[in-house]
């Protein structure tokens, strides 16, 4: 519509340039890590590699493939994510559906009971003592049970049930003699696939990235999730197996350990990065569903 004023045109151009710069700043470290993981460590560590891989070299990856800890962590995280997300989803549905029903007497009470937990919690030590008392320390279950459901996600799902599924359908099913659980399984859930997809994604990413419960409650290295192994390797610099594999001089050892870190980051994030382009729109949808009604 019409011609823009020169000022507006200028603002627009500056806006484009700034956004392009922002995008570059955000993506650069990621590209750098990827390139560095395929480069000869010497080039990277001397600062001679800036963007594209230099002196293509897959040593880092071959060393990673021989590292047992990393793969145990990987396997554990996959199991925690699968089992944990299933529990999360089940619990969220079991909470959200009754609460979405206006004829569910006591729903305000249940809601209040859940929301209170957002503001008051026992804190670190009382929770730790409880987990200990329940004999859940150092068990598989401590990674999936204490965070079995999130109040925010219950609210998101309940809101979706209330606002996106016509109440009349449920009522007519009820008149036809459908029991509540049948309504849930045959009518509500099939109509709720978008929000279910969003919940699965939110929960799964949470499990994939979680490390704090493991840090507090787990001692047994065979149960460590990937993030805890990553913490040891990337932050605490303990790469025993890796160092043993390189029999060269100490300085060189240190170098290749530094180089391996790039490859570790790539491998650890591979599933998320591969899925990201497909999942992104669901996440955005999830934020929207949560935000607009929140």
């Amino acid at each position: 519509m019409g011609l823009q004023s020169r000022g507006d045109r200028l603002v627009e151009i500056i806006n484009y340039i700034l956004l392009a710069l922002i995008a570059a700043v955000v993506i650069y470290p990621l590209v750098f890590v990827l390139s560095a993981s395929f480069s000869k460590p010497d080039f990277v560590l001397r600062g001679e590699m800036w963007l594209l891989p230099k002196g293509i070299n897959l040593d880092a990856y071959s060393k990673i493939f021989q590292n047992k800890d990393l793969w145990i962590g990987y396997r554990n995280t996959i199991v925690y994510t699968l089992v944990g997300t299933s529990i999360n989803l089940l619990m969220t549905i079991l909470a959200a559906y009754p609460m979405s029903r206006k004829d569910f007497a006591g729903r305000n009470f249940v809601m209040a009971m859940m929301v209170v937990t957002l503001f008051f919690s026992g804190g670190l030590i009382p929770t730790y003592l409880l987990i200990k008392k329940l004999h859940m320390l150092d068990t598989f279950w401590v990674m999936v049970i204490p965070n079995a459901v999130s109040v925010w996600n219950i609210i998101i799902m309940r809101t979706f049930f209330q606002s996106s599924i016509p109440h009349e359908i449920q009522e007519s099913a009820m008149i036809d003699g459908c029991a509540n659980w049948q309504i849930l399984i045959r009518i509500v859930l099939p109509l709720s696939m978008p929000v279910i997809a969003v919940m699965i994604l939110f929960y799964a990413v949470g499990h994939w990235n979680a490390f704090f419960n493991a840090l507090i409650y787990l001692n047994d290295k065979d149960k460590f999730p990937l993030q805890l192994i990553l913490r040891e390797m990337l932050i605490q610099n303990s790469m025993k197996d890796m160092a043993k594999l390189t029999q060269e001089a100490v300085a060189k050892q240190a170098m290749s350990v530094e180089g391996i870190k790039y490859a570790i980051i790539v491998v650890a994030n591979l599933p998320v990065l591969l899925l990201y382009p497909f999942l992104q729109k669901y996440f955005v949808k999830g934020v929207m569903i949560g935000a607009l009604k929140g």
């Binding site: 627009e12 470290p29 026992g122 804190g123 030590i125 929770t127 003592l129 509540n180």
Partner: protein, 316 residues
């Protein structure tokens, strides 16, 4: 039976307890929610019972109930401790710093993205800026260590290329807060902008057209239409953020912390973790944690009150 009769009969049956009747009809709904309620009772409410050890000398043999009361002993010890002011200062500064930088940037980003007409460019920028949100905290901190390493890190190579001396970022107390805040902005700004973008999309386009007819420039329209339009969203998120100023990003601080940067990085929640989990001073650590929660709660209530007074927008 005539309809009137049936109604009459229903009424007599339900007159005693209509509540009981709805409960009875929906008994399976109650069955569904029982596991969830059990979960909250066990994992959210039972620990509340444990808070009393903040006022006791907890001993594992005697259990929570039978441990002796000691009043405010642990609180006094905390207030008198050498670390007290350092912890308060670090927690407070880190919270305020995060808020001052981290809160406005997503809003600005959303306002900028909203002005982009090319859908492809917009999508491109969004896809890139959301991405770091999905990296784990461990990986983000790991990347900080790699990029900021004094000898081999990229940033120090750049500093040296311009003739500067390498800086030991990760082991310096002075750099800690800046690194924390800006790496957080890098990771989450794009993601946090989604809410504002959604809110911007809800603004009536007629307002913009009317303003254009009146000769308003782009910047004037952003200032007088877009910003007021998303103000309620901004206020709600601000309240939520302010309420948690003292409980900020505990996991990440813990990961970034080391002996050398401790004077700038030690905050209340990491202190709770150290004294409680690592040193097993359960009662003392619970007292510190409780103190932290109370401050947070007071902050939240105050901010909410002010917001309601000033802006008519509040959480409750």
């Amino acid at each position: 039976m005539t309809p009137e009769l049936r109604v009459e009969q229903d009424r007599t049956r339900t007159a005693t307890s209509p509540l009981l009747k709805t409960v009875k009809r929906n008994w399976d709904l109650y069955l569904m929610i029982i596991p969830v309620i059990a979960f909250f009772v066990i994992f959210a409410y039972l620990p509340l019972y444990g808070i009393q050890i903040a006022f006791k000398d907890f001993s594992a043999f005697k259990g929570i109930w039978d441990s002796p009361w000691v009043g405010f002993k642990h609180f006094e010890r905390f207030f008198d401790s050498y670390y007290f002011w350092r912890l308060i200062r670090n927690s407070f500064l880190l919270g305020v710093y995060s808020l001052a930088i981290g809160f406005p940037i997503p809003i600005i980003l959303a306002l900028m993205l909203n002005e982009v007409k090319s859908n492809r460019f917009k999508k491109f920028v969004q896809t890139i800026t959301y991405a770091p949100y999905f990296l784990s905290t461990v990986v983000i901190v790991g990347m900080l260590f790699i990029f900021l390493s004094p000898r081999t890190g990229l940033i120090n190579h750049i500093i040296q290329a311009f003739g500067g001396d390498p800086i030991a970022f990760m082991t310096s107390a002075g750099w800690f807060k800046t690194l924390y805040v800006f790496s957080d902005v890098w990771q989450t700004a794009g993601w946090s902008s989604i809410i504002y973008l959604a809110s911007l999309a809800g603004i009536d386009t007629q307002l913009h057209e009317a303003a254009k007819v009146d000769g308003a420039t782009k910047l004037q329209r952003i200032w007088h239409i877009n910003i007021p339009g998303i103000m309620p969203t901004i206020v709600i998120l601000l309240i939520l953020n302010l309420g948690s100023v003292l409980s900020i990003g505990f996991e990440k601080v813990l990961l970034m912390q080391n002996n050398l940067n401790m004077s700038g990085s030690d905050i209340i929640s990491t202190y709770v973790y150290r004294s409680g989990i690592l040193d097993a001073q359960y009662s003392f650590s619970t007292a510190v944690d409780l103190f932290n929660s109370i401050i947070n709660f007071i902050l939240l209530v105050t901010v909410n009150y002010v917001a309601r007074r000033v802006n008519d927008t509040s959480l409750w």
